[in-house]
């Protein structure tokens, strides 16, 4: 089988052609200008992943939403479930970038971390 895709590993956006067998054990990538392209294409065929950013509810702070991100790319299939879970979470200020909001989501090893600093309201 054959699939065309655009590499998203960097802003260049190479056009890749991926040829693979039924059982996915034989994958060849062409059109990439660097090694990252091959990795991306393989992953995209086997288990496509994305970094997810979102916000979670924040209490006791000057902000009402705390921006967060996954610390590595998560399988696309799990993104909706992660978002659903994140939208139920409530975090309490103070919080700093890097603070963990969710650990090892569904055993994937993916953690969710805060990306913004927020003092608690009493700090004012």
């Amino acid at each position: 089988m054959k699939r065309n895709m655009t590499c998203i590993a960097c802003p260049l956006g190479c056009s890749l052609t991926v040829e693979y067998s039924e059982g996915l054990d034989d994958v060849t990538v062409t059109g990439n200008r660097c090694a990252k392209g091959e990795v991306y294409a393989r992953e995209e065929i086997l288990a496509p992943k994305r970094t997810v950013t979102a916000t979670v509810s924040l209490t006791a702070g000057e902000l009402s939403r705390l921006p967060v991100r996954t610390d590595r790319a998560l399988e696309k299939e799990l993104i909706a479930d992660l978002l659903t879970e994140l939208y139920r979470i409530e975090v309490s200020a103070p919080v700093a970038p890097g603070d963990r909001v969710l650990t090892d989501f569904r055993g994937t090893g993916v953690n969710v971390i805060a990306t913004r600093r927020c003092g608690s309201r009493s700090d004012e």
Binding site: T6, C7, P11, G13, A54, L63, P67, R116, R117
Partner: protein, 414 residues
């Protein structure tokens, strides 16, 4: 009215303002930053997606993380006035300065030896592109929608059409999908997408969102809230032709460009560049008013915050030279040649390496950037791909500039 005397007043605490303030404070100047929001970091705080910082911090960060890095670099000595709005710039018997309004301290007259303009930009809106139709609620600029969702936690609507395939439009398509709205399509007037290919893939293709190139919204329907929009191919823009179709939606997001916010600048009588909508600046990034400098999106709209920060550092250097009384060597003007909409700054200094940012007018693969003094090419570089939405950077060496000092430089893309 209170009076505050300082060396440098920086207007705006976004990426550019903070960067220039940090650099100036490091050089030992007494610096004040005034900011109208009550938080620092400007628009970065609502850009919660990643993709920032690859050049400036050598790692990929989200907007808030990038802002937090900058805020962490602020020296304690720096005076920060949040919630403070500059009403006007002044130059009178007390020297250069500004009138600043704030709820906490009333009106303060800042007197400074130099001013850095770093007010950023605003979004073009429905009026600027005059979309015909009714005027219901549900029509928002992408940035306003981004703020509603990412800072405040509110979702503008459930069924969304987006105008403009620039990166902000694309990023918002993904964001709206991730909060559970349905993005029906993205409409782009140009025959090619304006945003980065990787954003087309991650933000549209991942969600099966159609992109209608060479199309425009020709009518907004709905009396109270948007009910639908009519979309037509560009060639039939004037009337509903066979290619027109209607999409039911309750929200229309507009990502149709940014404009440097220069009302203060213009009112102060500073000479403007019509192409950038920013002030004209010399090689030090000083405007036509001695002592007033500009950097970041208020000077010209940047694609990457990293470039804005780099420019802000250069601006701080220019301020420092000005305050030390070092006159720059004046090389000559730098003008736009074929296929170049603008080049900033519009002058060069043969006393050092000079960096220029320019915006192409064409879409082309395998193009070439060429800088000429008369018939002689003094700098050239091959560009794999150019398009108007992607800024091009060029750094000319001191030696190359020295050799042609006095002549006008023309920058062209061919």
């Amino acid at each position: 009215m209170k009076i505050r005397r300082i060396d440098v007043l920086v207007i705006g605490a976004g990426a550019s303002g903070l960067t220039s303030a940090i650099k100036l404070a490091e050089m030992g100047y007494e610096v004040s930053v005034v900011e109208r929001e009550n938080t620092l970091g400007g628009i970065l705080n609502q850009c919660i997606h990643s993709g920032f910082g690859l050049h400036y911090f050598n790692e990929e960060l989200t907007g808030p993380e990038f802002a937090d890095r900058l805020i962490g670099l602020l020296p304690d000595a720096l005076y920060l006035a949040p919630n403070a709005t500059v009403d006007r710039l002044i130059d009178d018997e007390n020297g250069l300065g500004a009138l600043v309004f704030s709820p906490e301290s009333g009106i303060t007259r800042y007197s400074s030896r130099a001013i850095v303009l770093a007010m950023g930009c605003r979004e073009r809106n429905r009026g600027n592109i005059h979309i015909p139709g009714s005027r219901p609620s549900g029509v928002y600029t992408a940035g306003l929608a981004q703020r509603l969702v990412n800072i405040e936690g509110y979702i503008p609507g459930k069924d969304v059409v987006i105008v403009g395939s620039g990166d902000i439009g694309l990023i918002m398509a993904r964001r709206m999908s991730w909060v559970g709205a349905k993005v029906h399509c993205v409409v782009e007037i140009q025959p090619y997408p304006s945003g980065l290919t990787r954003n087309i893939v991650q933000c549209l293709n991942d969600f099966n969102i159609p992109l209608h190139l060479s199309h425009v919204v020709t009518k907004i329907n709905g009396n109270d809230r948007v009910q639908s929009v009519e979309i037509s191919p560009v060639s039939r823009e004037k009337e509903r032709g066979p290619g027109s179709f209607t999409v039911e939606c309750d929200t229309l997001l507009l990502s149709v460009g940014l404009v440097p916010e220069n009302e203060l600048t213009r009112k102060f009588g500073i000479a403007m560049n019509h192409e950038t909508s920013g002030p004209k600046v010399d090689s030090r990034l000083m405007t036509s008013k001695p002592g007033v400098f500009a950097c970041g999106n208020v000077l010209h709209v940047h694609d990457l915050v990293d470039y804005a920060c780099e420019e802000a550092e250069r601006c701080a250097k220019g301020v420092d030279e000005f305050l030390r009384g070092v006159a720059p060597e004046t090389g000559g003007p730098v003008v736009s040649g074929a296929n170049v909409r603008y080049v900033v700054p519009g002058a060069y200094n043969p006393g050092s390496d000079n960096r220029f940012y320019l915006r192409p007018m064409i879409v082309k693969n395998k193009s070439r950037l060429s800088v000429r003094a008369g018939e002689v090419e003094i700098y050239g570089k091959n560009l794999p791909h150019v398009q108007p939405s992607e800024m091009v950077e060029a750094t000319l060496s001191k030696d190359a500039l020295k050799a042609c000092s006095g002549q006008t430089l023309e920058v062209r893309i061919e």
